[in-house]
Assembly symmetry: D2
Homo-oligomer: 317 residues x 4
Amino acid sequence: MPAANLQDVVAEIAAEMKARDDRGDVATYIPELGRVDLQQFAIAVIEKDGTLTEGGDCDSFFSIQSVSKVFTLTLALGLAGDRVWNRVGREPSGSRFNSIVQLEYEKGIPRNPFINAGAIAVTDLILSGHQPREALGEILRFMQFLSGEDSVYIDKAVAASEERTGFNNRALANFMKGFGVIDNPVEYVLGVYFHHCAIAMTCRQLAKAGSFLAHLGQNPATGHSVVTPERARRINALMLTCGHYDGSGEFAYRVGLPGKSGVGGGILAIVPGKASVAVWSPGLDASGNSHLGRIALEKLTARMGWSIFGSPLSASR
Amino acid sequence: MPAANLQDVVAEIAAEMKARDDRGDVATYIPELGRVDLQQFAIAVIEKDGTLTEGGDCDSFFSIQSVSKVFTLTLALGLAGDRVWNRVGREPSGSRFNSIVQLEYEKGIPRNPFINAGAIAVTDLILSGHQPREALGEILRFMQFLSGEDSVYIDKAVAASEERTGFNNRALANFMKGFGVIDNPVEYVLGVYFHHCAIAMTCRQLAKAGSFLAHLGQNPATGHSVVTPERARRINALMLTCGHYDGSGEFAYRVGLPGKSGVGGGILAIVPGKASVAVWSPGLDASGNSHLGRIALEKLTARMGWSIFGSPLSASR
Amino acid sequence: MPAANLQDVVAEIAAEMKARDDRGDVATYIPELGRVDLQQFAIAVIEKDGTLTEGGDCDSFFSIQSVSKVFTLTLALGLAGDRVWNRVGREPSGSRFNSIVQLEYEKGIPRNPFINAGAIAVTDLILSGHQPREALGEILRFMQFLSGEDSVYIDKAVAASEERTGFNNRALANFMKGFGVIDNPVEYVLGVYFHHCAIAMTCRQLAKAGSFLAHLGQNPATGHSVVTPERARRINALMLTCGHYDGSGEFAYRVGLPGKSGVGGGILAIVPGKASVAVWSPGLDASGNSHLGRIALEKLTARMGWSIFGSPLSASR
Amino acid sequence: MPAANLQDVVAEIAAEMKARDDRGDVATYIPELGRVDLQQFAIAVIEKDGTLTEGGDCDSFFSIQSVSKVFTLTLALGLAGDRVWNRVGREPSGSRFNSIVQLEYEKGIPRNPFINAGAIAVTDLILSGHQPREALGEILRFMQFLSGEDSVYIDKAVAASEERTGFNNRALANFMKGFGVIDNPVEYVLGVYFHHCAIAMTCRQLAKAGSFLAHLGQNPATGHSVVTPERARRINALMLTCGHYDGSGEFAYRVGLPGKSGVGGGILAIVPGKASVAVWSPGLDASGNSHLGRIALEKLTARMGWSIFGSPLSASR
């Protein structure tokens, strides 16, 4: 079977997704996110040679929310190395993104860096020895560097909305602080956390920013080495097992790619050795992942033979 | 970087593993398994063209225990199709292999088919409308067919040992029965379950039996199509996210392959598009997975560039 | 305020309870119990001087179910003394009668002797060194001795009904067996447990049987000393804190007496120093306690000033 | 058996407790409490006729900590009536004082008003429509009124110590706020909570303050009616089932009185119809209750025949 043509596939998916009636529901627990237009959909694919294939609303900026956790983990591993793993585990949680139950049973150590508690602990490591403003600046510059675009920004209205309503995250952070897992003042850590979740970028920018994960740690467009090959593989492994909270198994089963979703409706997915993919549609499914985003990725992987669990292309080699 | 030579790599790994002092501990909760010689180690790799590369004690038969769950799931999917997913979920459990807590919170539906409760529910589906002896015969013949060898057998002493001491599995099965998740009489289901866990085979046979999972559902040696490509990918995805109980994230992080371990010390690992690998060493680590088996797979994947999360080979293409 | 007249109060309560429309629902999880006539209600009070005051269907035999746990605990304390507390705790569980969650977290030790797991562990202690038939005979004779009536019997149809459907109890027993908390074969222990739960007696007999708990361990009618004063007080304390599963706090709050309920619709309540009370009505509330039985006890306590948490009588002395 | 003489019994207990070597350990999680002299012990008993019998360090002021929860519940019931029970349950928790697990499973509704989460929810009700300073003033004046002494005060150093380290309580409050169970700003609620826990008084004052609970809601010394008889009984019932966290069953079993302990080492115990008892010794046992305080109460109840579960006095009447 010859590989399908990526441009055709992306165009068909974008057209279908724009037209579908089932669009999911916008997140309401962060009020500011509730205002986004449900009709939007975007997809951007960057291949190894730098070719960009895109469809839909790829000029729209959206709130990347938890997709930012992939990048703060990358930063923290660069700053603290394997000390990160003294503060946070590497196992799927089997629980919702904001569950506090396991924190009590496991003495304040979050299961992995992609649930809220884990990402807050990672933010605490990035903050160490800095003012919140400095740490946040570092995270933002990292995103601008990875995407190669200065227009990536922090949406302060979204951050403020979450600061007003983020009681559950405040509970998680204080709970970890009580166990000594958080070093810095809780409000400092949460300030940085709420703001890095409020980073706004386009699908095109997000696909570029994730590109190093598809290519053994090196951004093929710029030639910059971001992390070692081993670290890139390991971040991908964590995205596969833990990237979608209590829907991680389902995403692996249906899509078959490492991925990380956010409640803003964005998903970053990695096709190791081939491509970095970003999709965005603000309506969410019951697990809090982008409804159309997940469907689009499932179709893309099936059509392109990109599942890491068995590809018709490698089979026919 | 050119690919390492598989024969050399396998020989080096086998030699190192035979020589190491750290060998883990044999499982003691099934008394019969406690008698196995800790010095043994075996590795067998079958590539797409049928080439077999092996090292260590590849003529030794061992109890495959939970590795059998991959094959009973395959059988049950063939018999019942997606009805399997009415009885068992597809998410990592975040808990030990024999935890009963989630069963209570989730009304008797096990998280996935690779924890004990899930595999017992799968066995119940295979049993439907059969006598235990018939169902067990079907499972055994399936293993003999997949491995192409009639010498695969059921070790009745091991099965009897587990029947005498398997109180926890009896609790799980009765608990599910109370929720109506098990149709057949509990003792029938457990009889089949204990016996299929007691299947004994060699590493060579196990690698052959798993070969269809590496090649889109088709055994390349025989040309037999066992399952559809999509189903093969999905079973691999489940092995990746759920194959090692509460050590699944760690295995994905370190080894980077779909795999399934058993307390007999065997592990089956799949390199999609490339190879099926079986390793065996009876000493276990704290999570109940083969200590040297896991290390051997980690070395094999690193040396051969076989991680599904990023390969130097695809990168250099 | 002068004490109300007990005969008048009991007669009024019996008349009101017979007439009420809200009668609860019969237990359905033990099919045989589902056949009982919902219209029935009985109340029997035995005071210190042996005076019996009764109303309603006091000649009807009913299945005492979990009320039997008070008596098996009493027997086991006589046989094994404080060794009982190595097998079972003394704290309220905060969970349903058949929860298995805490058993996993607490290594197979049930929270208290009045949840199912705890009562099964107590039955195992009574069984030690006996055949099931002997142990069961001992329990039955103890009930006949305490009530002073040979007509107390074991309803074999109810026991058989529970043996056919008691999967949850089978799960609990096997789970404890896996932790080494149960000594005897699981089926022996459950056989005795299901049969002692199926003891059938009248309200009059039950009130007599519990009389020793109201009078420092001594049955005032016969003068027989059953347990020491300290032990009687302690059994009453356990009934108060643990006698109604996850409705124990509510019963203490509303009724204010030590009590133990059963899904057959019976409740035994103790007024220390004054009286032993049995009520029975087969319809249950959402917590599995007799709906009208609880209301009757609340009215009786309020009218007679019998709450252990403050009595108008002692106040006016 | 004639009743023992209360003066002799109290004197003997005070002497024994002062002399014992096993004194428990001071709480360290509130640093300020760690400085208290372990050698101290006090006991004060106030009978119905107002007779005060005391022994040990009855002039020492100590931090009543969680004993204050009895009084804030009393206040909140006066202010909000049974609406209190929309925010907090009435069942024992079976968990530690600061567990957050049940809050997640039960949507932010604490099990009872005597665990930390429950007391915080009660404080939120008292705060409604007030400034923190006003609410705190009301609580303090209530304690001064009940004890009849203006010297009862709030130890600001203790409150400040807890404000600096109370991360777990901050987690609980934010978690409930996320579920909408808390109306006021979290820091306001916690400010009042930390300060009412820091109320300092003597054993004599505490015994007086609790006196209304022993006498159907009326303080016999002053004749003031504080609550209705029914409410007094119900508060006592809650103290019996929930007053000592996961040691409530044990306290009922050994002491046999409604009681409430605090980590400052104080315990208030109620003998309905007879007396109000306060004991204090700063060393705690493993459950966080005063080690010598509990032993003193056990001896007092046994010697005086005061258990609510059966009294030799009522038996001999």
